[in-house]
């Protein structure tokens, strides 16, 4: 929708007005459904209903257990490469007009980060143990 508008040369404000309306509609739809379901559905609670369904296991301990900190590396690596991806978008948009210069610039950028990836890989930081 927004893309079509852009191609038709609609103004910046109009396009994002549509984006805003779209987001409001989505949120509104979900909220309405949830509220309606709560209002319409009959609620008769019983102890049988509160039990675990069929093969569901009854938890024996508190499910909130501290995870080993090494999993944090995944989150941090994700963050780092997410930032890298963010750098790629504006570059990709103007790639054609940049020529060799932009190509070399990005090659250096990606190569330096590739070293980081290789390092993380060799150190086993990518291994989900």
């Amino acid at each position: 929708m927004a893309l079509v508008l852009l191609q038709q040369g609609a103004s910046y404000g109009t396009v994002y007005l549509y984006v805003g309306i779209f987001m409001l509609l989505v949120t509104g739809f979900v909220a309405t459904t949830l509220v309606l379901a709560r209002l319409i559905s009959p609620g008769r609670r019983s102890s049988t209903k509160a039990q675990n369904y069929e093969t569901g296991e009854i938890t024996v301990t508190d499910p909130w257990r501290p995870f080993p900190v090494r999993y944090y590396v995944f989150a941090l690596l994700f963050l780092v490469f997410d930032v890298e991806a963010a750098f790629l978008y504006p570059w990709a948009v103007i790639y054609k007009s940049l020529g060799v210069y932009g190509f070399v610039e990005m090659v250096i950028f990606v190569l330096i980060l590739a070293v980081g990836l290789i390092y993380a890989w060799k150190k086993g930081a990518l291994k989900w143990v």
Partner: protein
């Protein structure tokens, strides 16, 4: 659009440190039990950075690149020499220790990336470049402080340093953004057009926030509280290196921002600097007096020394300005030599004051070195610290401002205040009897070599001062 060949020459020290950083990291990734190789490469790398900066300096290379955002002048090269030189000793001191942790290549990579960040920093003329370089120098330093897994204080110090450091970085960035907002450009030459005599409230706020961020990075009071915990927890080589190289680079870039970006606002910021200098000197020395742990004592002493350097910043006005710039340059070099040496002695002897009892009898060489460093930190002639203080006092005397006279007075008072804790160590080493707690000769040849070389440099700083001040004269930031 294209980058000229000259720019590659200008970036030689940075390119070399990037290259060695990557190679050392890959050695860590692919080799097994290769601490020696990594240490050798890292030492070679920091030496190569030193030599390349020295060659650029000797050939008189200078110029402004990347649209004026990056500048290579003798001033920048001088600080690159300090950074690379201290990195060399840090690598030597860390070689054996980091090998024992099993992650030597990573530790050395972090040292080299601090070198890269700091040497980019001193050449930047663009506020965003300055922020990015500061981060490049700071992020590895968090990991360096928290590197030692065998001691809990290391993780604690790293955590405290990280959290306070991130807040300081955001304050610094907020200040930079406000300055960018009022001047419409991040380049120092454009900022200078906005920061003339009358500052608008936002400009003042931006300046205040930026100076607060920098004050944190150089551990000036009242933003110093992370320093003792971080330096106590950090591995000795990290504390020695981080208290010297990033600090020198940060002072350099602060000098560049203030002199190139806001010369018109000098009356404002010299007053701020005078205020910071007085508080920092007193806080550093008064807290150092109470420490029994030599590491903490040296951490507070480094706070005090930041105050002395800030005193030179306060004197950047009137007739004393040229001398004040020289004072900053000479003091940072002198401080780098003596402070680094004093921290490395801890590696040889120990961090408790009791470890130094009667050291003269058990380990005369280490005791003599420590004695020299302590005397230099007080400012006894003809050791290195004396020349730094001398220059500051001369600059202050020439400035012709009452406020600066007060700052210089505070400097003299603080020098006297600092005597008890520095000389306390010397007294313990000579007068006390050796006990079972007295440090023997821990540490290895590389650490001992570094300590002795630094002790010699401290002692004969007077001979160095002649070529140094010639260099400094040529640097011509003013």
């Amino acid at each position: 659009m294209a980058v000229s060949g000259q720019a590659f020459i200008a970036l030689l020290p940075e390119l070399i440190s990037t290259g060695f950083l990557i190679v050392v990291l890959l050695v860590g990734a692919f080799g097994e039990s290769n601490a020696g190789v990594a240490a050798g490469l890292a030492a070679l790398g920091s030496l190569a950075v030193f030599v390349s900066a020295a060659v650029l300096l000797a050939t008189g290379f200078s110029g402004s690149f990347f649209g004026g955002g990056y500048v290579v002048d003798p001033f920048a090269l001088y600080f690159k020499l300090i950074v690379a030189g201290s990195a060399f000793f840090a690598v030597l001191a860390a070689a054996r220790w980091s090998g024992r942790t099993g992650d030597a290549p990573e530790y050395l990579t972090l040292i080299l990336s601090v070198v890269l960040g700091a040497s980019l920093l001193v050449s930047m003329r663009d506020l965003f470049g300055i922020f990015l370089s500061i981060e490049l120098a700071t992020i590895p330093s968090y990991a360096m402080v928290a590197f030692d897994r065998s001691r809990r204080e290391s993780a604690e110090g790293g955590m405290k340093y990280l959290i306070t450091g991130v807040i300081a970085s955001s304050v610094l960035l907020y200040g930079i953004v406000l300055i960018y907002g009022v001047s419409g450009s991040a380049q120092l030459s454009d900022v200078a057009n906005t920061f003339t005599g009358n500052l608008t409230p936002v400009a003042l706020l931006g300046l205040g926030l930026m100076v607060s961020g920098f004050a944190f990075k150089v551990s000036a009071a009242p933003f110093h509280f992370w320093t003792p915990d971080a330096y106590q927890g950090a591995p000795t080589s990290a504390a020695a290196f981080l208290s010297v190289a990033p600090k020198a680079a940060t002072f350099a870039v602060l000098l560049r921002i203030l002199l190139e970006g806001m010369p018109g606002a000098a009356p404002t910021w010299t007053a701020v600097m005078a205020f910071l200098a007085i508080i920092t000197m007193f806080v550093g020395n008064l807290f150092a007096l109470r420490q029994r742990n030599v590491r903490r004592m040296l951490a507070y002493s480094s706070v005090a020394h930041s105050g002395y350097i800030l005193a030179a910043f306060a004197a950047l006005q009137g007739g004393g300005a040229a001398f004040a710039v020289q004072a900053v340059l000479i003091y940072t070099a002198a401080y780098a030599v003596m402070n680094m040496g004093a921290f490395l002695v801890i590696d040889l002897v120990g961090e408790d004051a009791k470890n130094y009892n009667g050291l003269v009898r058990t380990n005369p060489a280490a005791a003599a070195s420590m004695g020299l460093f302590m005397a230099a930190l007080v400012g006894i002639p003809p050791l290195s610290g004396f020349f730094g203080k001398l220059w500051i006092i001369i600059a202050g005397a020439q400035s012709g401002s009452i406020l600066v006279y007060i700052v210089v007075g505070a400097l003299v008072v603080n020098t006297v205040l600092s005597v008890p804790y520095y000389f306390g160590i010397i007294r313990n080493m000579i007068l006390e009897e050796p006990t079972s707690e007295t440090g023997g000769s821990k540490g290895n040849g590389a650490v001992r070599f570094s300590v002795y070389v630094l002790a010699i440099l401290t002692t004969f700083f007077g001979l160095l001062i002649i070529p140094l001040s010639a260099l400094v004269k040529a640097s011509g930031l003013l």
